[in-house]
Symmetry: C2
Subunit: 131 residues, 2 copies
């Protein structure tokens, strides 16, 4: 088992919870504290678990089903902190959208030993540098 397997598993849980609109699973994954921050694509940064949870509740109420294909996943771990950079490829009615994303985790009592403390995603615009 690689060192970063745990945090990569925690990272996948975020997308499973999102795809299944499972607010309990999302709540288990996140650190439910003031330092939880979340920036959905195009949104202002939400600070604290209350506003972050409310955003998932609102997003999950929407009728749209979102499926993620994750590419370029890369985890870096330094002590009790880790971050995963990846591309979320969103499959939807209007074709594909790629969301460049960084997720930060700290060691905790989450299901894989990690809790999410930061999610930040932004749409990659066509014609801009493709990495």
């Amino acid at each position: 088992m690689r060192t970063t397997d745990g945090v990569l598993a925690a990272n996948r849980r975020y997308y499973e919870a999102f795809e299944t609109k499972d607010l309990d699973a999302m709540s288990d994954l996140w650190e439910r504290s003031d330092r939880a921050i979340c920036t959905h694509p195009g949104w202002a940064t939400l600070e604290g678990w209350g506003p972050v949870a409310a955003s998932f509740f609102a997003l999950f109420q929407g009728g749209q089903q979102i499926q993620f294909v994750l590419t370029r996943e890369r985890a870096i771990q330094v002590g009790d902190t880790a971050w995963v950079s990846l591309d979320e490829n969103l499959l939807g009615d209007q074709g594909g959208v790629t969301v460049a994303t960084i997720n930060i985790f700290v060691r905790g009592s989450g299901p894989d030993g990690w809790q999410m403390v930061c999610h930040h995603g932004s749409v990659v615009q066509a014609g801009r540098n493709q990495g």
Copy 2:
């Protein structure tokens, strides 16, 4: 001195280097390694110091002068890692733009004892949740 003063100082250096188009200062601040990642607004994620440095070189060649006003700066430190969330308010000819940003640092030989390993900014779209 608060615990997070060092990382907040390192964070400010990023914006000073950007405003003065100082590639040497930017290079001193960043961890010049494969784990350096950078997502400029609307861009795909650049991986590794080579591509990241090239992006700053290209941005600094542009004639446009950018001035940042930083708001909502908040630093979290966990051991040898820290991250700063903030809003970059860009002042330019076409009025203001707000870029929601997360910067990640690790302890290192940078001028304030921290090296940048991740920068991710995304434009806050008018009419979306304002945090």
